[in-house]
Symmetry: C2
Subunit: 149 residues, 2 copies
Amino acid sequence: MEPQAKDHSLITQLRKCHLRATGQRLAIMQSLIESQSHLSAEDIYLRLKQSHPTLSLSTVYKTLQVMSQMGAVITIETGTGSLKFDGNPSPHHHAVCSKCGMVHDVDFMKYPIDMNAKDVLPGFNVQSIKVFFNGVCAECARSATQSEG
Amino acid sequence: MEPQAKDHSLITQLRKCHLRATGQRLAIMQSLIESQSHLSAEDIYLRLKQSHPTLSLSTVYKTLQVMSQMGAVITIETGTGSLKFDGNPSPHHHAVCSKCGMVHDVDFMKYPIDMNAKDVLPGFNVQSIKVFFNGVCAECARSATQSEG
DNA sequence: GTGCCTGCAAAAAATTTGCAACACG
DNA sequence: CGTGTTGCAAATTTTTTGCAGGCAC
């Protein structure tokens, strides 16, 4: 199989928003989708540095901002200082480890929430709902147990 | 009436965690609770600067971190660059305006979610659940409507 | 009195900006 | 070919750190 024939649905989506389908934008989205995880701007930058030596961090930031506004990318805040980004388009929640900053997807149907919420506040127009489960991941819990008395 | 007799429940809570009830800590928590809103570290710093001229920003940051770990304060990330903090102890959700960064509380019972969620991930120990309604607030929606064709 | 906290300022980290050259369409 | 985008590096913004003195306990 070919590596990948450049996600045409993304190109279409970009066009729809009157944005150009540049190699950088496609590459950034690709790396997010391929990673199947949650990367920071710098994570993406470092990953792509290899294949795109001239790519700049600021382009990554700008692209992520644009993608986020387009709705192609979800912004996740882990509280560890930097934002993380998620290219998974299907609705899901996130589990965030407060020790190591790890982010994992959580099945939406496990904890469904009314996505049609319209009356959260008078006049407030809900665009998206994010549910975060904050806690300690298995690995961090393990090391914590070791230091318990 | 006196300004306020220094929140003894907070002092108790601090003691429970083997932390000292310093004037700065009480003042920072006070300003969060009194504001009934969501402030950034700098917001708090500026508010208290008047009554506590020697207070430093780094103390605000350190205190907020400590309070957050104690569970006395909830950390909210608006995506506008800086964190915001919430001193409201009762469970509730948050509506965040993606235009202006405004944060408002949303009644928990309006969109209840299982707070006993234990199986979000294998081995993941949930400590808190945060629900964010992202969208556009009434005021920003108003200005957006004006520029519509 | 002891040790946790604070305050100061500089460092580190994260994100944004300006502008000329370049590629998409 | 025109204009949206990129890349570079410096600027800005946000948060952290180290250390000496002070205060809570």
